[in-house]
């Protein structure tokens, strides 16, 4: 298990616990009282630590290397029948954006999301979850296919942003995201989005214009990452904590500001502690909401989608 900087007190207690257990074994002494005490200490420390996370700590958890990623969700949620679909039919197959057909509890879905890698090699292969224009165009192709066959769409959002590169600009990164946003508004089938990790700016919204948007408890959604915000506004990277605070990027803030539709519970310490719990929570949320959305006509759904996004914003008239 990897520990984040603020989790070190837990790590220390865990190490003490391990040591106690092994000493007990070696010396054949009864350490059950001691381990019981340590376990309860760990438990109460965890409770204290994780129930008062700062926005920056939430950002850190959202990026935890052991956190489940898009394909983990797909494998866990679907009825063992995922058919991955590749390519934008124009330029290439973007490995940072994955998607395909599957069924979940016998309901067919098109499921799409950004994919990160789990080690140095696959991280590079997935371009750290940063899609190029062809990734957004692939996502749109898949969404249009879902619309054609009248099946709902799930998007799983986990990206530090759309990729900023020479090739990306040459192939129209801005246009690709703009097109997706524009087209998603008018999709005739239900669209449900889950922020499962990082929700950075246009790169996230490019697959995030949905009837219902849910954020997992330890994720963030913002117009810019705290680091970039810090470097622009404070001209250094040291104010990332302050930036994370100021950007109001946590699920709680997003819900309070009516910019998302709900929050999905994670186990104590984050999704990676007990992924199966998170998968179940996502599945339950999905089943309830897809049923609700199916009960509306597509015309009504689109109208409500437009109205929802049109109401977002605070200004003075």
């Amino acid at each position: 298990m990897e520990y984040l900087d603020f989790e070190h007190p837990i790590k220390e207690l865990k190490e003490q616990l391990d040591k106690t257990v092994s000493i007990g074994k070696e010396t054949n002494t009864d350490v059950s009282e001691l381990t019981k005490e340590l376990n309860s200490k760990i438990h109460s420390l965890k409770k204290k630590l994780y129930s008062n996370l700062t926005p920056w700590q939430i950002v850190q958890l959202s990026r935890h290397p052991e956190r489940p990623y898009t394909l983990d969700y797909i494998n866990a949620l679907c009825d063992d029948n995922f058919i991955e679909i590749h390519g934008d039919r124009n330029f290439k197959d973007d490995k940072a954006m994955v998607g395909g057909w599957c069924s979940i509890d016998n309901q067919t879905y098109m499921i799409i999301g950004q994919q990160k890698g789990k080690n140095t090699k696959t991280r590079k292969y997935r371009n750290f979850g940063m899609a190029n224009p062809e990734g957004y165009r692939k996502a749109l192709r898949l969404m249009k296919m879902a619309e054609k066959f009248n099946h709902p769409i799930i998007t799983l959002i986990d990206t530090p942003g759309a990729y900023p590169g020479i090739e990306a600009e040459s192939r129209g990164q801005g246009e690709a995201i703009a097109r997706n946003i524009y087209e998603m508004i008018n999709l005739s089938v239900p669209v449900i989005s889950f922020i499962i990790g990082e929700g950075a700016s246009g790169g996230a919204l490019g697959i995030g214009v949905a009837d219902k948007v849910f954020m997992l408890e330890n994720t963030w959604y913002s117009v810019i990452s705290p680091e970039s915000c810090s470097s622009i506004l404070w001209r250094n990277w040291d104010n990332k904590e302050k930036a994370a605070e100021s950007l109001k990027l946590t699920p709680k803030n997003m819900l309070k500001n009516k910019l998302i539709d709900g929050i999905i519970k994670e186990p104590l310490g984050g999704a990676h502690q007990k992924p199966e719990v998170v998968f179940k929570n996502v599945k339950d949320c999905l089943n309830i909401n897809v049923k609700k959305l199916h009960s509306l006509s597509s015309k009504k759904r689109i109208m409500e989608r437009i109205e929802k996004f049109s109401k977002m914003g605070v200004f003075q008239d």
């Binding site: 900023p164 020479i166 600009e169 524009y182 508004i185 913002s222 117009v223 950007l247 977002m312 003075q316």
Partner: protein, 290 residues
């Protein structure tokens, strides 16, 4: 959001240069370094008479340049930003808004107006780069929303003149969602078969490019304008290489297929009027629309 240094803005001159000639009376072209009397430069629509460099000009100038006889009606002029997140960096956002208003005598990073162009009705939304980098606030989104609603009600074409560093960081996700809000309205405009012209001027970046700026029936740009999604500095830092000559310029985007044409400011009005006449207003004489 992408920030640009003031010295790139053209109309402003380095303090070093200011000593060489009377302040405020001359324009020094940042491209060819020619000194031109400011009055003459303004009369030439802010275009360098020597090398055709297009200076950034205000919304007001675009309005008087495009609308017949410089006559137009500004709408929602008072609509302005709030500080929903109580955002504060080295300065509070509330303070920034106040300062921007004081410095620019504007209420927001966009102005919206309607009038006639060669006797055909049109509505124009023009962004103000001088107002917090032309960044997209909730108020900017709302003003675009309202001008599109106006176009739908009155059945008149829309033009948006983009000049924006992108999203307004101090409104975080509120700002981001304006991309969806404005794009949604554009789709309703499109459904009514009303034309939308997007003019991209120097600079157009981030959230603007990732929404309304790239969604025109035609996307056009002024010469030599810097246009992109990610800012050049971010790209340079990410790839650790210098950027090629002409990268993210209008002509580059035209070549890559993201613009329909690049238009000199002096031809702008006629090009626009020609377009809306051909695609929209000509039908009326025969049988009307629908």
């Amino acid at each position: 959001m992408v920030w640009f240094k003031r010295k790139n803005q053209g109309i402003f001159t380095d303090s070093k240069d200011k000593k060489d000639f009377p302040k405020g009376l001359w324009f020094k072209c940042p491209k060819c370094k020619t000194l031109i009397p400011k009055e003459e430069h303004n009369a030439n629509l802010g275009v360098c008479r020597n090398c055709d460099y297009h200076s950034r000009i205000s919304s007001k100038k675009y309005f008087s340049l495009l609308f017949d006889n410089g006559e137009y009606i500004v709408i929602n002029e008072k609509l302005t930003s709030k500080d929903p997140l109580k955002f504060s960096d080295t300065k509070s956002y509330t303070e920034r808004i106040k300062m921007a208003k004081g410095e620019t005598k504007l209420n927001e990073a966009i102005c919206t107006a309607h009038g006639k162009i060669n006797n055909m009705k049109i509505a124009i939304a023009s962004m103000n780069f001088e107002f917090i980098g032309g960044s997209i606030s909730s108020a900017v989104g709302e003003k675009i929303y309202r001008i599109i609603q106006f176009c739908i009600r009155k059945k008149i074409p829309l033009m948006i003149i983009s000049k924006s560093g992108g999203a307004r960081m101090m409104e975080s996700a509120f700002s981001l969602m304006q991309l969806a809000k404005t794009s949604a309205q554009l789709s309703l405009l499109s459904e009514q078969k009303i034309p939308y012209i997007s003019l991209l001027t120097d600079p157009t970046f981030g959230g603007a490019t990732a929404s309304f700026s790239m969604l025109g029936d035609i996307n056009i740009a002024e010469p030599d304008a810097l246009i992109g999604f990610a800012g050049p500095r971010v790209i340079k830092e990410t790839i650790g290489k210098d950027l090629p000559e002409g990268f993210q310029k209008s002509e580059f985007l035209l070549e890559k297929g993201f613009l329909d044409f690049v238009v000199h400011r002096k031809n702008l009005k006629n090009k626009i009027s020609n377009f809306i006449k051909l695609v929209y207003y000509s039908k009326k004489e025969f049988k009307g629309r629908k």
